[in-house]
């Protein structure tokens, strides 16, 4: 990717402080009266790789839809690189490339033309449009398919076609709504690499996901959205440090009568051959093994109980009442 130079230079000139995206007090009530967004505030720094994480129905696509002007907001403000959505819509649109959650191209159009036509809508002449299409479709492994009808592509290819289409006007902000839904593991990895490269070239990226590993692997900044509210907006690192324990599950070779007691490792028997260990952050796994060794407890296998982020996520998005009850039962 060598096309980001100008956009980035401009950014530096104006100072790095202009947020790629700034959302203030965003509300959305759908026509049926459903309030999907209940006052969202969100800031995405320029150049960042940002995750908007939330369960199904949290309001991720609604937020993205408003930013990309596919959905009318009820109230609140949206700025993209300082351009206001209400006053400077054209500039906002020029700054954004969207990879939507649902396929939204004409399946009876050839792959190459879908990308080139999109460039045309942004005023890019046809010859230059084909040059860019070759570049992005090539990078995404679709150039050979340029003459095929879009409907003949596999799910993963369709998703990549939408990525090429979103990049063809070289937006400073790329927004992907659940980009790896329905994409198999191997392709997912190469898509992540591709996105990382694009981000390294200076393009800001926002992706929504309910797939936690994705956010953890890719994103330096994260916001968690739940039932139309932002419950957290911070760096991935500081979010992860909020987790003070990690739980591993141990499958034993033989039943044990008595579990050892330790300051920073709490062991719990689940059934006679299964034990869970809460390991305090900063404590090494060797301590756990040492502890087990001393008691002659033989472990057959071991696994993480949950992804740490997932645990945090569940904690943050559960209603306070449920959370209290859970904590009681686990103590």
């Amino acid at each position: 990717m060598r096309h980001t130079g100008i956009a980035q230079e401009k950014d530096k000139d104006q100072g790095m402080m202009t947020a790629a995206l700034e959302i203030r007090g965003l509300h959305k009530t759908y026509r049926n009266g459903f309030e999907a967004l209940k006052g969202i505030d969100l800031t995405v720094a320029p150049g960042s790789f940002f995750a908007l994480l939330g369960p199904n129905g949290a309001g991720k696509s609604t937020t993205i839809g408003i930013v990309t002007s596919l959905i009318n907001k009820t109230s609140g403000s949206v700025r993209v690189f300082g351009h206001d959505l209400d006053r400077d819509l054209q500039e906002v649109k020029r700054s954004i490339g969207l990879v939507p959650q649902e396929f939204n191209f004409n399946t009876f159009e050839p792959v190459g033309e879908i990308v080139v036509n999109q460039a045309g809508y942004y005023g890019i002449p046809r010859r230059e449009a084909w040059r860019r299409a070759q570049h992005y479709l090539g990078e995404l492994g679709l150039w050979d398919k340029r003459k095929d009808m879009a409907r003949t592509l596999s799910g993963g290819m369709k998703r990549r076609l939408m990525i090429a289409r979103a990049l063809v006007h070289e937006p400073r902000l790329l927004i992907l709504d659940e980009p790896t839904a329905g994409v198999d593991i191997e392709l997912r990895r190469s898509m992540w690499d591709f996105l990382r490269n694009i981000n390294c070239d200076g393009r800001s990226i926002i992706l929504t996901t309910h797939y936690l590993e994705e956010a953890e692997r890719l994103c330096r900044n994260i916001a968690i959205i739940d039932r139309g509210r932002i419950v957290e907006n911070t760096t991935m690192k500081s979010l992860l440090t909020k987790l003070d324990t990690e739980t591993v599950v141990l499958d034993l070779l033989a039943p044990v009568q008595q579990l050892p007691v330790h300051d920073s490792i709490v062991l719990r028997g689940i059934d006679e051959l299964t034990v869970e260990a809460d390991i305090h952050r900063g404590e090494s796994l060797n301590t756990l093994f040492h502890l087990l060794d001393k008691e002659k407890i033989q472990v057959q296998s071991m696994r993480n109980k949950t992804n740490r982020l997932e645990e945090l996520f569940i904690r943050m998005t559960q209603a306070p009442k449920t959370r209290g009850r859970d904590m009681q039962t686990s103590q």
Partner: protein
């Protein structure tokens, strides 16, 4: 609008129109061929078989009288059908979103779709005219009137098709207007008969039908005869273009049917 943006907008408009033309050209067996076959049948049955028994209409051979009306009928229905089905399927398949996220202004979206509709209307119109040459010699009384009225009529119905597409929620909705409004109005708009044959009251009622003015003006362009004032006809057609355009623009600006 800076010159830079003007240039960009021109590229965008060309892109939309080209895409629209390719769309109907790719499926010409469904879009261009059927109306030509239908019109050929009209020529054979009404003009050839029945027409010879009718004799003259307004001083012309019946076949010669109906050719302009049938060309117009083809132009009207195809301009309309192209835009309504293209716009509705772009909503249905959601690729209208490609345009909605881009900086293309709504006025250009309208122009682009209308351009596609006019292209199809005129393509079919020319094809039907060529077929008509087997049945009736082509005479053109006034080239400017003929061309202007056929293009403007095509624009009117492309715009109407677009509005239908904006409101349509199902494939049924895109056939209701053509079946229950467009076709009857066209048939009653003097395609097959001269309104001067009607009793006074029905003549007055017919004059409320805008298609009557379009068909008559087109027939004037070819044959040099009309029951109505040319200027009134042009005024009516222009009023429809302006009115429908403003309405369509207002719908798109409000996001009716395309934004939630």
């Amino acid at each position: 609008m800076t010159p830079l943006h003007l240039h960009e907008h021109w590229t965008a408009l060309r892109t939309i129109v080209t895409k629209e033309v390719l769309r109907f050209a790719r499926i010409w067996v469904q879009t261009v061929l059927p109306p030509v076959v239908t019109m050929a049948l009209y020529f054979i049955i009404f003009g050839g078989l029945i027409g010879s028994r009718i004799g003259e209409m307004d001083g012309y051979r019946y076949m010669d009288f109906i050719v302009p009306g049938l060309i117009m009928l083809a132009v009207i229905t195809n301009s309309y059908a192209n835009v309504v089905s293209s716009f509705f399927s772009s909503k249905f398949q959601r690729h209208i979103e490609e345009l909605l996220v881009s900086p293309v202004p709504n006025s250009l979206i309208i122009l682009g779709f209308v351009g596609g509709g006019v292209a199809r209307g005129l393509t079919v119109g020319v094809a039907v005219t060529l077929v008509s040459l087997f049945f009736s010699p082509l005479s053109v009384h006034s080239i400017p009137v003929t061309l202007s009225v056929v293009v403007m009529t095509s624009i009117v119905f492309a715009l109407a098709g677009l509005i239908n597409g904006v409101f349509a929620r199902s494939f049924d909705d895109i056939s209701i207007m053509p079946t229950f409004v467009l076709t009857p109005l066209t048939y009653l708009g003097g395609v097959f008969y001269s309104v001067s044959l009607l009793p006074g009251f029905w003549q007055d009622v017919s004059k409320l039908n805008p298609i009557l003015y379009m068909v008559n003006t087109f027939r004037y362009g070819l044959l040099g005869t009309t029951d109505l004032s040319l200027w009134v006809s042009y005024a009516i057609i222009i009023a429809f273009i302006v009115g429908l355009y403003v309405f369509a623009l207002n719908l798109l600006n409000r996001g009716v049917g395309v934004r939630t």
